[in-house]
């Protein structure tokens, strides 16, 4: 993947805020979840074709996450619901009041287990086919040390599906066995949570995304570094990489030129690079070497990026952002001093 050649190849401007997206394995359909509480399906083979909206009997608030499993799309939202959709008929199959508070993220294992996290601080496990609740567990305090309700933003699965990680507002990561739901390890990233005791008396930040390294031994955590003025996303964007076994922090990567939250992280299949996306009032996508923490490339985007799809095999990238949907290409290699190896 030629990072330095990354650019927007097509951009759609919308009125809404887009929080998440999914693409089918054939790469010919894209879905995104919107602040208008709808899901939209867009053809990638015919990009100018009409979008299909999945709205009726659907969510009643922001759609914050989605996954594709065969012909089924599962979405989650601020309405505390998980909804299963038939992607052919575009109709809902199942609608569950899944959490007691706002659902932030979902992911699915190849063997058909769906995981969800929400601000009730619970991680819940569902049978993908039946929608039955398999388990509910938590290692995250319901209130912050400063007595306010906390949030559980981040969820990740290891590539082999055997491990699960959850991350919250105050910088606590729990790593679980995804079958037994026993906690295996934990990681602390307190710097991602800024509490202002003096000027404004509330907090900002939190762990916004987690990502296992392809070999499952490392964990990347994304958020924002310390902030002075918590009225704004005014802190450096931040990635921390840990050795899961020992809990040792291997890298702390901050970029003060690209402020705000890191909302999405993806490791390259060889584990050598990490892609991050997020933003403040604008967006960015950055590429870092995982061994050294060095930033090899960064591009800016006109909207804060909430959702990311990367396919390293096909060199495909899509982002769901504030009032933007974008398709990215890795174009022709640029003539730079360092040639980034393709993966």
């Amino acid at each position: 993947m030629n990072f330095s050649a990354l650019e927007v190849s097509k951009e759609w401007q919308l009125q809404e805020i887009l929080f998440c997206l999914a693409i089918n394995p054939n790469n010919d359909q894209l879905w995104f979840g919107s602040s208008d509480s709808k899901i939209y399906q867009q053809s990638l083979s015919n990009e100018d074709s009409e979008r299909i909206s999945y709205g009726e009997s659907g969510h009643s608030s922001y759609v914050t996450g989605m996954v594709i499993a065969g012909d089924t799309l599962i979405s989650c939202g601020y309405d505390k619901k998980l909804i299963w959709w038939d992607t052919n008929s575009h109709e809902p199959i199942r609608n569950i009041a899944a959490h007691d508070k706002w659902i932030r993220r979902i992911c699915v294992t190849p063997d058909g287990r769906l995981f969800s996290v929400g601000d009730d601080m619970q991680c819940r496990v569902w049978d993908l086919k039946s929608g039955d609740l398999i388990a509910s567990f938590s290692d995250h305090a319901a209130t912050t040390p400063h007595h306010f309700p906390s949030m559980l933003y981040a969820l990740a699965l290891s590539d082999d599906g055997s491990s699960l990680a959850t991350g919250d507002r105050v910088g606590h990561v729990a790593i679980w066995d995804s079958h037994s739901f026993e906690k295996r390890a934990e990681i602390k990233t307190p710097d991602l949570y800024t509490w202002d005791p003096k000027q404004r008396r509330h907090s900002i930040g939190g762990i916004r995304c987690l990502s296992f390294s392809p070999d499952g031994t490392k964990m990347a955590v994304g958020g924002m570094g310390k902030v002075g003025n918590i009225d704004h996303l005014d802190g450096a964007s931040r990635i921390e990489i840990f050795e899961i076994g020992t809990g040792e922090r291997l890298q702390m990567i901050e970029d003060a030129k690209h402020k705000g939250l890191v909302e999405q992280l993806r490791w390259s299949p060889d584990g050598k690079f990490i892609v991050s996306a997020g933003g403040d009032h604008k967006g960015f996508i950055a590429f870092h070497e995982t061994e050294t923490g060095k930033q090899v490339h960064v591009v800016e985007h006109s909207g804060h990026i909430h959702g990311l799809h990367v396919n390293f095999q096909t060199d495909t990238m899509f982002t769901a952002a504030h009032q933007r949907l974008a398709k990215w290409s890795f174009g022709q290699p640029k003539e730079t001093a360092e040639t980034t190896p393709t993966s």
């Binding site: 009125q15 809404e16 805020i17 602040s35 208008d36 509480s37 009643s60 608030s61 922001y62 939202g77 601020y78 309405d79 706002w102 601000d119 912050t144 400063h146 007595h147 306010f148 309700p149 949030m151 003096k198 000027q199 404004r200 008396r201 509330h202 907090s203 900002i204 939190g206 009225d231 704004h232 996303l233 005014d234 705000g260 933003g279 403040d280 009032h281 604008k282 909207g303 804060h304 504030h322 009032q323």
Partner: protein
């Protein structure tokens, strides 16, 4: 500063325009020229004011500094592009919903009126603060008293042993003291910032209580001897200030919440705002007529929803607990609780998932004394961009507050020969939310 009615001059009637009135009053009247409040107070008090004081009305202002979002509190627009992600929940008032971030208040509206139609036009912190803390746009060259000073004067007792205007503002952002303006230093606030105990209210250890008291008595005796041959309101005001010292020192316990049973403190909860609300209840219970508790800082230009999750939880819990506590103690019917900021927040959501300053259509609440509980006044359009019904100005809000407390909202203070109404010109109370 007396009412016209008390001056011996004809009560101002509609047929007399202001200018003619001023010519009548002219510079011959001693009222406008008397330089000292104490003298006027002694002269100008009507029986109504005495009754008012006797009935002991109090005010607690929960000041939502920085501008709380009306869309995440009292006037949600779920499902609209401007509505944000939070749902609306039904309240105990039929047909009225508020944000799901305020679940406790949803069952506590029986004594509360929500005003959804404030249009105050000013959207910068400093100017908007002046506007909302005085009820009028700041006029260069006029030092208008802030709400606390007005109410300290109207509701308080001039020789009060407890403070009459206490203001708590602990955060540093947006911290402003409030002033008595032309009402004079007597009505300045007791201003608590870093410490919860007012400054210099506790006796130094190096002097015994007996010495402290006897020293004060010595001072008082000598001053009285002086006053026998030199009487002047300035000297009286000076003595009056010293006269209040021991009483105020004796009220230091009011600020000490350790004196409350653990169960009560637990009800208010562990946050600083909760603790200060508890202090406010103690103060009004002891007869302090006006307490302002600032909860800063709501200015969520970025991450509006996350910030409101925290701050609304605090407001929801502390406000409902305060209302319950006042009610149980039989205080709510004589205490007006106001929740108010300097403006609201934009319906449109910016790229950082924030909302910016917005003063064209926003909300506040009034609870308790003189208020028709369970009422909602005013409407905004479906997206919350404009007021479509019942537009209210800052002056109208102040008129409403005064009316709820039984204070004549048309009352005027005399600044020299210039009458200045306590509520801004052409403002009217919102009678539909008053009992």
């Amino acid at each position: 500063m007396a009412n016209h009615a008390d001056s011996g001059h004809p009560k101002q009637s509609d047929s007399l325009d202001r200018r003619s009135m001023m010519r009548l009053m002219g510079s011959a009247s001693g009222i406008g020229l008397a330089a000292n409040m104490n003298q006027i107070t002694a002269l100008g008090e009507s029986r109504l004011n005495d009754q008012l004081r006797a009935s002991g009305k109090r005010v607690i202002l929960l000041w939502l500094a920085g501008g709380a979002s009306q869309l995440e509190t009292w006037d949600p627009k779920p499902g609209r592009p401007t509505g944000g992600p939070f749902a609306q929940i039904q309240t105990t008032v039929p047909g009225i919903g508020i944000s799901e971030l305020m679940p406790k208040m949803s069952t506590h509206l029986e004594d509360t009126a929500i005003i959804r139609s404030l249009n105050t036009k000013i959207a910068d912190h400093g100017t908007a603060y002046e506007l909302m803390d005085t009820g009028r746009v700041k006029e260069a060259g006029v030092d208008f008293p802030h709400l606390g000073a007005i109410l300290a004067r109207e509701l308080g007792n001039i020789e009060s042993k407890v403070p009459d205007y206490v203001s708590m503002y602990t955060s540093t952002e947006g911290r402003r003291k409030g002033s008595a303006g032309f009402l004079g230093g007597r009505y300045n606030p007791m201003f608590l910032t870093d410490a919860m105990m007012p400054e210099n209210i506790q006796r130094l250890e190096s002097i015994t209580d007996t010495d402290h008291r006897e020293r004060a008595e010595l001072r008082d005796t000598l001053s009285k001897l002086f006053a026998r041959h030199h009487s002047h309101p300035s000297f009286e005001g000076h003595n009056s200030a010293y006269g209040r010292v021991r009483g105020l020192m004796a009220s230091d316990y009011l600020f000490d919440i350790e004196r409350e049973p653990e169960s009560i403190r637990a009800q208010y909860g562990p946050t600083q705002f909760g603790q200060q609300c508890l202090v406010a209840r103690r103060l009004v219970e002891a007869g302090v007529p006006f307490v302002k508790v600032a909860r800063a800082w709501w200015d969520s230009h970025g991450q509006n929803f996350e910030t409101h999750q925290e701050l609304c939880a605090d407001l929801d819990h502390c406000m409902s607990t305060l209302l319950d506590d006042l009610k149980e103690r039989g205080l709510l019917e004589n205490t007006l609780v106001i929740s108010l900021g300097e403006f609201g927040r934009t319906p449109s959501i910016n790229g950082s998932l924030g909302r910016d300053h917005f003063a064209s259509a926003w909300s506040c609440t009034l609870s308790g004394c003189g208020i028709q509980g369970g009422s909602v006044y005013g409407k905004t359009d479906e997206n919350g961009n404009t007021v479509v019904e019942g537009e209210m100005s800052a002056g109208d809000l102040y008129s409403t507050i005064f009316a709820a407390l039984g204070i004549d909202h048309t009352k005027e203070y005399m600044l020299g020969s210039r009458p200045i109404p306590i509520a801004d010109f052409d403002s009217t109370p919102c009678y539909s939310i008053l009992t």
